[in-house]
């Protein structure tokens, strides 16, 4: 086992311990938990919010709203993965804020571009209220992502969950912007083919 992998494992362990400590502080209603969360995940949350909203001020407000939501949700919620739980809350808040902004016609972000890209493989315009169908779709997408190599899976989630820009993805994954575009295009088409095969499109 290489030194690098050991170091990465140790880093994950430290994060896990810290997350448990934060959860404990939240359960004890210790406000320092929010400070620790902001210190640890503030940059990540800012990046996610900024990708969706495209505005620094909106991103900051979004993070504050997410921290407040965390304070209110825990307890009773006891998430196993605190970071993922935090990011999901943040994303929902950011998307709600984005939709509100769209109604007011102010600001823009990667969200609109991601919608356009997904419209290529999801041409349906009708709203699906059927929760069963939504759950089947979610499971299919999860299975699809599991079939992908980690880098491609991460790229897809970063683009359509977090709405990262092509430039950021290219920088983070050591690829060219064009390579990122091409990879995502292929992934979308593969997803479309997969969903058709599953009878969901």
């Amino acid at each position: 086992m290489s030194f690098l992998s050991i170091e990465r494992q140790n880093a994950k362990a430290v994060i896990a311990i810290e997350d448990k400590r934060i959860l404990l502080m939240l359960n004890n209603r210790d406000e320092q938990a929010l400070t620790a969360t902001a210190a640890k995940y503030g940059a990540l949350c800012r990046s996610v919010a900024l990708d969706i909203l495209g505005n620094e001020q909106d991103a900051e407000e979004c993070i504050n709203d997410a921290l407040l939501a965390i304070w209110n949700a825990i307890p009773p919620a006891q998430p196993e993965n605190y970071r993922a739980y935090l990011l999901k809350i943040l994303r929902n808040i950011a998307l709600d804020r984005y939709k509100a902004k769209q109604r007011d016609k102010r600001g823009s972000g990667q969200y609109a571009d991601a919608l356009d890209e997904l419209a290529e493989i999801l041409p349906g315009t009708q709203n699906t209220e059927d929760t069963v169908e939504q759950r089947e779709m979610l499971e299919a997408v999860s299975r699809f992502l599991e079939t992908l190599p980690k880098t491609q899976s991460d790229l897809f989630v970063r683009r359509y969950w977090r709405f990262s820009s092509f430039e950021d993805l290219a920088h983070d994954y050591g690829m060219t912007v064009n390579h990122v575009r091409v990879t995502l295009t292929r992934l979308r088409k593969r997803l479309q083919k997969y969903l058709r095969k599953e009878g969901l499109l």
Binding site: R8, L44, V48, P79, E80, N81, R83, A84, Y85, L87, K88, R91, N92, L95, Y111, A114, L115, D116, L118, A119, L122, G124, T125, Q126, N127, T128, E133, Q134, M137, L138, V141, S142, L145, K150, S153, D154, V157, R158, Y160, W161, R162, D172, Y173, G174, L200
Partner: protein, 311 residues
């Protein structure tokens, strides 16, 4: 499902997927083990790019000998005690067999000539002296002419065969003025298929062929003999001569007709010093077939207007 619903649905993806995508990305690092060969390859490519054009422009010091040229020179004296051979070898693209019956040609010569894929067919008689040599710089006076004693691969510039001279055997030579008349087509029935050479004393009518040049000869000092070479060939040239036993053997090289054989006639005017007391009966021709047009033209382009006679 529309894209907006899809995006909202993705919020319920498993935590592991989301966590993985939002983890710090470890960018692939290029291991130095892979870097070294890559850098070395780049250096080699750069050096090659810089050096190759210069090498291309540089004139090589040693070049291949002219194509399709092999000259075998054999010199036999009396009872074949001496054999002198000069072999010009080259990269020959054609396979031509040598036909020589000269008894004086030693085994060494035969081996060398065979290895060099010669392109000259010597039509000689046993005991005669055969020589095919390109004297690009003929001597202007009687000199001791070195003749090679062993086969030597000559290194020459393209299309410019040089006279290989080494390991000299003492011989004397002299220059005989020669005038050439351009070949003319003749009637087929006037000549044979074989190339022949006839000698006769030049008449006044024949001397007009060479005009003023022929008139300049002092008839009291020179005996003018006309050599008429005729046969089915492209062209013919008198290369050199050898005096032996009061006879003069002239080596004549001709370039074979390759396409449509048409009989031609080439005339040469030879000016022998009267003191040699040559008659036409004393003159003999050794006719050789030369393959390789470039080589033949090299012989032909020798504008020294004289041939070397060894004796």
């Amino acid at each position: 499902m529309n894209p907006e619903q899809f995006i909202l649905m993705m919020n319920d993806l498993p935590d592991s997927v989301i966590d993985s995508a939002n983890s710090p990305v470890v960018r692939p690092k290029h291991k130095i083990g892979y870097m070294i060969p890559a850098v070395a390859a780049c250096f080699i490519a750069l050096i090659a790019a810089a050096v190759y054009p210069k090498l291309r422009m540089q004139t090589p010091e040693i070049t291949e000998p002219p194509a399709a040229i092999v000259t075998a020179e054999t010199t036999a004296r009396n009872t074949a005690e001496t054999t002198a051979v000069t072999v010009y070898t080259t990269a020959v693209s054609r396979e031509v067999t040598i036909q020589t019956t000269a008894d004086t040609v030693s085994q060494t010569v035969a081996e060398t000539v065979t290895a060099a894929e010669p392109v000259i067919q010597n039509e000689t008689k046993p005991g005669t002296e055969t020589a095919l040599q390109t004297d690009t710089k003929p001597n202007t006076e009687i000199t001791d002419s070195p003749v090679t004693a062993q086969p030597i691969a000559a290194t020459t510039l393209p299309d410019e065969p040089t006279n290989e001279q080494s390991e000299p055997i003492t011989e004397q030579s002299m220059l005989i003025p020669v005038l050439r008349a351009e070949p003319v087509l003749t009637e087929a029935n006037q000549v044979t298929q074989e190339v022949i050479c006839e000698f006769q004393e030049a008449t006044e009518e024949e001397l007009q062929t060479w005009g003023d040049e022929a008139a300049e000869f002092d008839r009291s000092s020179y005996k003018l003999i006309c050599a008429t070479i005729s046969g089915c060939c492209q062209d013919a040239v008198i290369v050199r001569g050898t005096i032996m036993n009061d006879d003069c053997q002239l080596l004549i090289a001709y370039l074979k007709e390759t396409d449509m054989p048409e009989p031609i006639q080439v005339k040469y005017l030879l000016a022998f010093p009267v003191e040699l007391e040559f008659q036409t009966d004393n003159l003999h021709a050794s006719i050789s077939h030369v393959l390789g047009e470039n080589f033949f033209h090299t012989l032909l382009d020798d504008d020294s207007k004289s041939i070397t006679i060894q004796y």
